[in-house]
């Protein structure tokens, strides 16, 4: 046999082995006649994630732990939960393929998907075709505003889709009313520098927007306009390009403008690790900086920045500091932190909390309906019920049934979650207690808020030397 034949043979054999191996246990599609679903038949939950990305890996671990917890409680109406993960490779075509496989080949009734807008758009379109024959629930922890509008305006077609996050337009309101004002008050300033990541998800925050939906017209002003209406002076404004690495010119400009607070509307697209390092050594390091989305929500951020995060304020969702929003917050903490062993609680991010909470919400809805198969009724129950077991959000702020632009998504961001990195990476929640109270958080949560413990970054550097 010559070399090429050998090569061909090896390739073919390898492919045959892999093909044989790729067949996973599957369940016939609904409507198939053979197996009659018994009570012991598992409810399949499919997770569509790119497991190479650390935050998605944490999401996957969280979902596994949540499924274990549900199974320990006897499953959902006696049916155990089985979790199957499909790799999306963070590519649109692969995500659509994985989604089809999840619904049709695996027979998953619940799909939890990474919050990558371009993937979610394509998958939601596919889901609209799949749903009539293969009823299921799709939950993504993020996607563009368009997905909200689809559910509102074409409810029957897209009702299977929920977004476990607040819509883009709503985030601007939250930043303008619940984030900047309390921090500015702590600092004692009215001068704000506003930097917004230049991406599609921030367009409404940069330019304002309006939506015509079946629930009426929603109009949202830009963050800058909303701040100015409240009497704040936006002394420096910048759109930060996606992938920007050099923040020094922005920091210098903010310093020159006399800003007392720098509000950075960021996501995972913005390198907030580099930003923290450059801020901490720049002339602007005495200005209070506030970050929005990204790795600073996790305890790992402290190490990632080499302690340069000292003084930064950002939404923070890691254990053990996380306040007990619901009994599930603590139950999950026990399980999650046990995984870390002596090393302590593994780092965790906001979206992981959303996925695990949503699994419990679906469980609750199925139990309320008394069926795991009547997905239409389960969706209705998810819309109508005030869910009280979210690990990080109050019932009113994770309610899916509001008849406005928040329909099928979270109305508000956790209004207690602004943490300041203080000495040794310890995070202190510095939110305004009244704002948290208004959003329905319990006194146990309010007790964990310590705005009086806030310290200016320059002061912290002195104290923590």
């Amino acid at each position: 046999m010559n070399r090429t034949k050998w090569v061909l043979a090896v390739v073919l054999v390898a492919m045959a082995i892999l093909l044989a191996g790729c067949q996973q246990p599957t369940q016939p599609p609904k409507g198939a006649t053979t197996p009659i679903p018994g009570e012991k038949e598992p409810i399949k939950v499919c997770g569509l994630f790119d497991s190479r990305i650390p935050v998605f890996k944490i999401n996957m671990e969280g979902i596994k732990v949540a499924a274990e917890m549900i199974n320990e409680q006897g499953g959902i109406l006696g049916r155990p939960v089985e979790v199957i993960f499909e790799d999306t490779q963070k590519k649109v075509d692969v995500a659509v393929t994985a989604y089809r496989k999840a619904v049709i080949e695996h027979g998953c009734e619940i799909i939890l998907m990474e919050g990558v807008s371009e993937e979610v758009y394509a998958v939601a379109e596919e889901g609209a075709k799949l749903y009539p024959k293969y009823p299921h629930i799709l939950i993504a922890a993020n996607a563009g505003m368009e997905t909200n509008i689809k559910v509102i305006n074409e409810y029957d077609k897209y009702k299977f889709y929920f977004k476990a996050l607040h819509p883009d337009a709503g985030q601007g309101l939250q930043i303008a009313y619940d984030v900047v004002p309390p921090v500015a008050e702590l600092v004692g300033t009215k001068k704000v520098a506003l930097w917004i990541e230049e991406a599609a998800w921030t367009e409404c925050m940069r330019k304002g927007c309006s939506f015509d939906t079946k629930f009426g017209k929603s109009e949202v002003k830009s963050i800058k306009e909303m701040l100015e209406e409240q009497g704040y002076e936006v002394v420096h404004y910048a759109d930060i390009a996606v992938g920007e690495k050099n923040f020094l010119p922005y920091l210098e400009a903010a310093k020159a403008s006399g800003a007392g607070v720098i509000m950075v509307v960021s996501s995972w697209y913005t390198d907030t690790v580099t930003l923290a390092k450059q801020w901490s050594t720049s002339g602007a390091n005495d200005i209070q900086i506030v970050l929005w989305g990204g790795p600073h929500q996790m305890s790992a951020y402290w190490k990632m920045t080499g302690n340069a995060a000292l003084g930064i304020i950002a939404p923070y969702f890691s254990y053990p500091e996380l306040p007990p929003v619901s009994p599930l917050t603590e139950e999950f903490e026990k399980k999650w932190c046990a995984k870390g062993g002596e090393a302590g609680c593994p780092t965790i991010e906001q979206s992981t909390h959303h996925y695990i909470s949503e699994l419990f919400r679906i469980k609750e809805a199925m139990e309320k309906v008394g069926s795991t198969e009547d997905i239409d009724a389960v969706i209705k129950a998810m819309e109508e019920t005030m869910f009280t077991s979210h690990t990080v959000i109050s019932p009113q702020d994770c309610y899916f049934g509001r008849k406005d632009m928040y329909f099928h998504s979270y109305p508000w961001h956790p209004a207690y979650s602004l943490g300041q990195y203080q000495c040794g990476g310890k995070v202190v929640y510095v939110n305004d207690k009244e704002i948290a109270r208004d959003h329905g958080y319990s006194e146990e949560v309010i007790k964990e808020l310590h705005p009086e413990a806030y310290k200016n970054p320059a002061e912290l550097r002195e104290i923590c030397k």
């Binding site: 996973q24 649109v92 659509v96 371009e118 394509a122 599609a200």
Partner: protein, 359 residues
């Protein structure tokens, strides 16, 4: 009058609208391509039938994979043909894919144009932009051509973010009409599969026909030695402009298909180095100048990617790239080389210039 001239193995039509036509009917010239084409045509049905009866579920993942293999074929067929005709390796084929996708999505969503019109528009925009850029095939070569084409997708990527109000940046343009919406998902999937297969086939047949014609000989001449070809009177710049323009339009058609297949189009998802690597590796592993090889390589690589994705978890992509690197080493003439070694008559025309040894 139609007659068969057996000694020359030709089918001849003597007078069809005043012209005489003749075709070679000797089986060795058409048997294997027809067998291969039929195999390509029935493969999805065989996969469907065997898998469904063996496992009791519809192999939607594999069928979806085959759709993407066809899209990749559209890209690599055009890239391979472009490389032959221009003597340059384009590092920005996905730029034209994104151009076609954006054209289709914007026209469909904003102006309600139907997919038939957006197809023409996507091809036209791809071709016009290709025509505008085609002088680079004349004035630049080597690293300059590579850099120029490499930068184009990055420019479009940044523009997509800069004008997120138009292009939707990372979220893209949703709400694009699907080509098929029968209400039966599997039927839709097959319709998409065979539509993409038909487009890839048309592109392949056009390129094959050209390469077998006298223009193919001219392209071969330009590819082998441009200066020498010019000395012999070949209008190399004209050939390169035409080839670059047409293939750019054809690549844009792949983007058009994706937009109407997925119901949305997000350029940044396709303007990635990974997409470029996939196209270049597929094109290279097809074999130099191998038009049929492009389809074979696209199918092998895309199926391999799906298999590794399903079996190897997060190592899937790494394993795919390693396997492709190994194949680059052990298959210097690509997948088509395995076949061509035994079928030397089907080599494409090339001009071999031998320098006379000075005694």
């Amino acid at each position: 009058m139609v007659r068969i001239e057996t000694r020359r193995g030709r089918l001849i039509i003597d007078d069809l609208f005043g012209k005489r036509y003749e075709w070679t009917v000797e089986p060795r010239y058409w048997r294997n391509p027809i067998i291969a084409f039929l195999a390509w045509l029935v493969m999805p049905l065989v996969v469907y039938g065997v898998y469904t009866s063996a496992f009791g579920v519809v192999p939607v993942a594999l069928l979806s994979t085959l759709v993407f293999a066809n899209v990749l074929s559209m890209m690599t067929l055009s890239l391979g043909f472009q490389s032959i005709g221009t003597g340059r390796l384009n590092f920005g084929p996905h730029f034209f894919l994104a151009l076609g996708g954006y054209t289709a999505a914007l026209l469909n969503v904003n102006y309600g144009l139907n997919p038939a019109i957006t197809l023409i528009a996507a091809f036209a925009i791809g071709a016009i932009v290709g025509l505008g850029l085609s002088p680079i095939t004349i004035i630049s070569r080597g690293v300059y051509f590579v850099l120029f084409t490499l930068i184009l997708p990055l420019v479009l990527y940044q523009v997509a973010y800069w004008r997120s109000d138009i292009f939707g940046a990372e979220t893209g343009i949703p709400g694009v009409d699907a080509l098929f919406l029968t209400g039966d998902l599997i039927l839709d999937l097959f319709l998409f599969l065979y539509t993409s297969l038909a487009i890839a086939t048309i592109i392949m047949l056009i390129y094959d026909k050209v390469l077998r014609s006298k223009y193919g000989l001219l392209m071969g001449a330009v590819n082998e030695d441009e200066e020498l070809a010019r000395m012999y009177g070949v209008n190399a710049p004209f050939i390169k402009v035409v080839i670059f323009t047409f293939t750019s339009g054809a690549m844009a058609v792949a983007g058009w298909f994706l937009a109407h297949y997925q119901g949305s189009f997000a350029g940044p998802a396709w303007l990635t180095p990974e997409m470029l690597a996939l196209i270049l590796l597929t094109s290279t592993l097809a074999g130099k100048g191998a038009i049929y090889g492009q389809v074979i390589a696209a199918y092998i690589i895309v199926i391999l990617r799906e298999v590794l994705r399903s079996t190897s978890g997060e190592l899937g992509l790494a394993a795919l790239y390693i396997i492709m690197l190994v194949l680059l080493f052990v298959l210097p003439e690509g997948f088509w080389g395995l076949y061509r070694k035994r079928r030397y008559r089907e080599y494409y025309p090339t001009i071999k210039v031998r320098k006379r040894e000075v005694l």
